[in-house]
Symmetry: C2
Subunit: 678 residues, 2 copies
Amino acid sequence: MAEDHVDVLIVGAGPAGLMLATWLAKCGVKARIVDKRGTKIFNGQADGLQCRTLEILDSFGIGHRAWRESNHMLEICLWNPDSNGVIHRSSRLPDTIPGISRFQQVVLHQGRIERFFLDAINEFSSGGVAVERGVLPTSLEIDRTCVEDPEAYPITVNLRHLSEEDATPKQSSTMSNGISAQDGLFRSNLMADDTADMLKTSELNQKANTTETIKAKYMVGADGAHSWVRKEIGLKLKGESTDYIWGVLDIVPITDFPDIRSRCAVHSANSGSIMVIPRENKLVRLYIQLTTTSKIQGQDSRTDRSWITPKVILESAQRILSPYKLDYRKLDWWTAYQIGQRVGSSFGVHDRVFLAGDAVHTHSPKAGQGMNVSMQDAYNLGWKLSSVIKGHSNRSILKTYEFERKAIAHALIEFDHKFSRLFSGRPAKDIMDEEGISMDEFRDAFQKGNLFASGIAVDYGRSLIVTKPVAENGASEATPATTSTPVTGIQDLAPGLKVGQRIPSVKVLNQSDARPWHLQELLPSNGTWRLLVVPGDVSQPGQKSRLEKLCGQLSNPESFLRRFTPNTARYDSVIEVITIHGAPRQSVDVFDFPEVLRPFHDVDGWDYEKIFVDDQSYHEGHGEFYKTFNIRRDEGCLVILRPDQYISYVGKLDDYESADRFFSEFMLPQNNLTLPNV
Amino acid sequence: MAEDHVDVLIVGAGPAGLMLATWLAKCGVKARIVDKRGTKIFNGQADGLQCRTLEILDSFGIGHRAWRESNHMLEICLWNPDSNGVIHRSSRLPDTIPGISRFQQVVLHQGRIERFFLDAINEFSSGGVAVERGVLPTSLEIDRTCVEDPEAYPITVNLRHLSEEDATPKQSSTMSNGISAQDGLFRSNLMADDTADMLKTSELNQKANTTETIKAKYMVGADGAHSWVRKEIGLKLKGESTDYIWGVLDIVPITDFPDIRSRCAVHSANSGSIMVIPRENKLVRLYIQLTTTSKIQGQDSRTDRSWITPKVILESAQRILSPYKLDYRKLDWWTAYQIGQRVGSSFGVHDRVFLAGDAVHTHSPKAGQGMNVSMQDAYNLGWKLSSVIKGHSNRSILKTYEFERKAIAHALIEFDHKFSRLFSGRPAKDIMDEEGISMDEFRDAFQKGNLFASGIAVDYGRSLIVTKPVAENGASEATPATTSTPVTGIQDLAPGLKVGQRIPSVKVLNQSDARPWHLQELLPSNGTWRLLVVPGDVSQPGQKSRLEKLCGQLSNPESFLRRFTPNTARYDSVIEVITIHGAPRQSVDVFDFPEVLRPFHDVDGWDYEKIFVDDQSYHEGHGEFYKTFNIRRDEGCLVILRPDQYISYVGKLDDYESADRFFSEFMLPQNNLTLPNV
C-alpha cells in the first residue's frame, strides 16, 4: 500500500479547509487536502463575506477578486406591520458600521471564493498542492507516545479514493416555471450524514479500490457539520436544535417590493418572516420562515421533507410580503434547514488533531456568519501550525487556537440563538402583547449583532502571544501559557491599537515614492511577525536618539531579529521591521534612518519598502495614523503584530528588552550563535 | 489557396493592434489580428500608462490589473546644478495633476498590458479570436469601385505564415556583472527595418510555405514605425530626426541617490541629462543622454552602433549623477535610440485602410506617451468601425478618426520636440548664458506637459459626433461632416461636462441599493451610446413634469431609442439610458421613475442598474455630481456620450428633438417601422 509523509493532512475542502491550505502553501509547509465530494461547486451556497473576512482574503492577494465580483450590501431595511397589520419600512440602517474597515459586507457565490483559494494555493505552492476530491479517510490512529516530539509523525490515516460517480452527491432537479433548478438539501441539516453510505457504496464498487496510508505530523478536520474527524477523535457537539424550519430560494425576483436590492428583515403580522439578501447577477436570496413554533401536522421534518418544495416556499414568501407581489422566472437553487446551535467542548486532541469551522460549531445560516467564522478558525490556526512545523516556534502557541476560537464560537451561537428567536417570532401587536417580539428590541439586536457580524470586534484573551495585563477579576485565567515574568506592554501609548484585536487600517505613505498604502496592505499573510516601529517625529532630537538607541540593539548580532532568523533566510522572513514615522515626509529621506530599518541586499540594494510616513498624500488625502490611533508624536511606541494581523504588544519605543522577552517565550533560536541567557 | 472573409484585418499585435482587437471582440465584430513577430513578450518595453489610458483599460475590465501590478508614480523631482555645478533637488511636483482622474500615472511592463488585452480578447470572443504570430502580409489590393458599399469586401491581402525560427527577432545577449541581459535594439530606430529580410528568409525556408488570401471590409495597420501597411498604401511620415542619442538601462539600482524611487529629471552641468522612471519589481528605467549635439567621432550611429554598450551607458549615467554613486548587479534590458518626430500626412485611405500608433506618428519614448497615444488611436477607431460594420451607423463617422487623431499626433510631436530639446540641452550657468537651457523654463514645460501627458486634456473638434458650436474664427472648419441644420446644444447647462472631452468621473449612488460607483464605471466600452438623463431634483414638480415629458417621447415607438435598436436586441444595446437625479435618495424609489428609465425584462424583471442619485454614501463620501459639474438641480440637462466616453452633446432636459436629430445624422433605422420624416 502507498505511504506518504506530510506535515499537515486537511480533511475537507470547503472554505475552512481551503483557507488553511492557502496559509500552509504560502508558508511553504507540505500539506495535502482531501474532500469526499467529487465536485467542487454547487449552485447556491452563497454567503455573506464580513469586512474582516475581506481583509483576510486581501492579505492573501485575493480580496480584490471577491470585492469586484460580489454584490455589496450597503443598506438594511427593516419592515414590520403598521397599525393595520400591513408591512411598511420602519427603518434604514447602514449594513456595515461606517469606519470599522476599508471593506464592507458583500455577498458572493461560495464557488467563486473557493476558486480564489484554489488559484492562490496553486500559485503559492507553484502547482505542488491540489485538492484531492473523491477521497475519504477510513481510519485514524494517533501514537500518543510521541505527540510532544516536534519531529514525529504521530498520526496515521488510511485514505480511500472514490470513483467519480460515488463522490457526487445526490441532488434532485426541480422543474419550476419551465426552468430546472438543483436543490441544496444534501447539505441541509434536515438530511442525515451520507458518509457511511458513500463508504459502503465505494467498498462495493470495483472501480474504487485505491487506498493509501498517510503519516502526518498534524491533521485538521474541516469536514463540516457531520465531521468524520470529530467522530474519530471522540468529540461531540453540544447544544440544541429548534423547531423553526426555514426555506431558502435563490431567484431573480420579479416584484414591486421597492427594497428588493437592499438587505431586508421583514416581519409580517401573522405569516412569518423573510430575510432578503441581494446577490450578484441579479439574484436575490430569500430566507423564508416556513413554520412558526409547532411542527407541521406533527410530522418529524427530518424524516419527511417531501412537503418542502420551491412552490411551498414561494407561497410562504408571497404571504409574508403581501400586499407586494413576488414571483420569478429564474430559480437558481433552493434548500431548507432547521435552526439550531451546537459547539464542540474541545477543538481537537493533543494539539495534533484540530477541528475547524462547521466541524466544531453549527448554527443557522441566516446570520451570514458560517463561512466567515469557519475561515477565520483556519486563519487563526494556519500560521501557528506553520511556525511550529518550520521550527520557528515551539508547540506552546498551538494551545492558543482552542483558547481563542472557542470563545468566538460561543459568542457566535449566543448571537445566533438570540437573533433567530427574535427573527422567527411574531411581532408584538402592541406593548401589552407579551408573547410577541418587540420590533424595537429586534432593531437593537440587529444593530448590535452587526458589529459582531463584521468580525472586527474579535478580541482575543491574554496568552503568551497576546500581552494583555492579567485581569484582576481572574477572567483571563484560561490563558494557555504563562511564565514567571509575563511581558506586559503599555496600552496607553497607542489607545487605538488594542492588544488582542486586529490592527485597524489607515493610509500611510511610502517614504521613498510617496505612494499611499493601507496599513493592512503592508501586512500580507506570509507567516512573518511584524515589529512596527512608530518613532513619532524623528526630526525632534529626542525621538531620533530614542530610535537610534532601539536600532542599535536591533542591529546587534544577538538581537531577536538575528537569533530567530536562520542565517540563510532573508532578513525579513521571520520578523519584519516596518517603520511609520511622523516627521514631514519631505524633511527626511530613507538614508536618514538607521540601516536596520532599510536593510541592504547584495542584488536589490537598500530596501525601499520598509519605511513609511504619516503625511498628506498627493491624491488620496491624509491617513492620520498618529491622530487616529492616538499616538503622540513626541513619544511614539513599538508594536508587535502576529502573522494574522492581531496586536500582540504595545510598548515603549526604546523598550527593546520587552520585545526580546516576548519573542523569547516561544520562538526557537535558529543559528549557532553564542546566545545570552534567555 | 485558402481564402477567408473578415470584417477587419489588423496587422500588428502591439498595444494599438491589441486595443483594436479588444474593441472589436467586445462588439462582436469578426476580426483577425496578425503579427510578424513570433514571440509576444520581450524584456523591457515598459512604458508609462497615463491616467486616461487606465480609465480606458478599466472600461474593458482590465484597468485594475494594471493598477495593481504597476509601479505608481506620484512625485517628480527635478535636479540641476547648484552654483558650484553640483546637482541638487531644485523642486518636487506631483506627477499626476491632483483631481484630473481617479487614476494616476503608473509604469508597467508592456508584456503585462499585452497579456491583459489577450485575456480580454479571449473572454470577449469566447476564444474565437487569437493573435496569429509569425504571419506576414505580402500583398495588398484595394478595389476602389466598391469602397463606398457598406457590404463590400474591397480589400484583398495575401498572408504568409512564417516558421517560428524566422519570426524570432535577433537579440544579442550581453554579459554584464555576471548576468546576461537581452538588448532591445531590434526595436530601436537606430536599426533598419527587418521585414524584407524576414520575408526573404522565409521564402528560402522550406518549412514556411503556407499562404492564404484574406478578403476584408476594413484593414488597420498597427504595425509600428516601419509599417508595411503604410508603405503599401503609399503614405509617408514627415518630420525630422535629431542627433541626440539616448541610452536606456533597466536595472535594479544600487545607489545612494535619495530619489531613485521617484520620477526624476536630472540635468548635470556638463555631462548631459538623465530621466529616472521607477518601475515595478524594484527595477528602475534610466534614460541616459549619450551625446549632446555632435555625433560621436563623426560616426553615423545608424550604421555603427557598436560603441553603444551597457558599460558606456552606465558610465554616462555615473558622470551625470556624480557625486552620487550608481551601480547595479541586475540588468534587465537595455537599448538606445535617436530622437526624432514624424507624423503621417494622412491616417489611411478610402476610410477602408487605417493606420494607428507608431505606424503614423513616431517620437521619443521618454515622454512616456508612445504606448498611450497608440492605444488611444485604436480606442478612437474601434467603436466607429464596429458601429459601421454592424449596420448601426453609416460610414460618415469614419472620417472623424483622422480628423480627431491627427490633431493629437501633431500636438504630441510638438510636445516631444520642445521637451526633448529642453531636456537634452545643457543647463544655463546663469541668466547671461544664452546657449544654456533655463531650468525655470524646463520646469514650466514639464508641468504643462504633464497635463498633456495625462491624456485628459484631449478635446476633439466639432464634427457630426461632437456638437460644438461652429467657431467664429473658422478654426473648426476641418469638420468632416455637416448638415444644413447642425445640432448645437447648450454647454452652459453643464459647464463641467465639456463637449469634445471625455466625461470626468465622480461617484454616484445606485438608487436601489445605495452602492457608490464611479460614473465612468457605468460606462464600460461595449459599443453603446449613452443618453445621460440628468433631471435635477425630481421631488420638485417642475423637474418631475419635464422628466415625464421627455420620457413620454423616449417611450414612443418611433423614438430614436426604438428606431435605431433592432427589435431583437436588448433595449440598451445601441443607446443606453442612464439617469442621475438630484433628489435625496431616500425620498424616492425606482418605481417613482418612468419605466423607460428602468425597463422591464421578462426574466430579469425591472432593471435596477439604470437609475442613480447624487447623494451622500454610507462609506465613501459624497460625489457631488451636480456641484462638481455645475449643473443646476432646478434645471438639469441631457447629455449624449459616445461609446468611448467622449461628450457629444449637452442640452436641455426636455429637448428630445435635438437628441433625435443628433442620432439621425448618422444612425441607421433598424426596424420596419413607419418612420416619421427624418
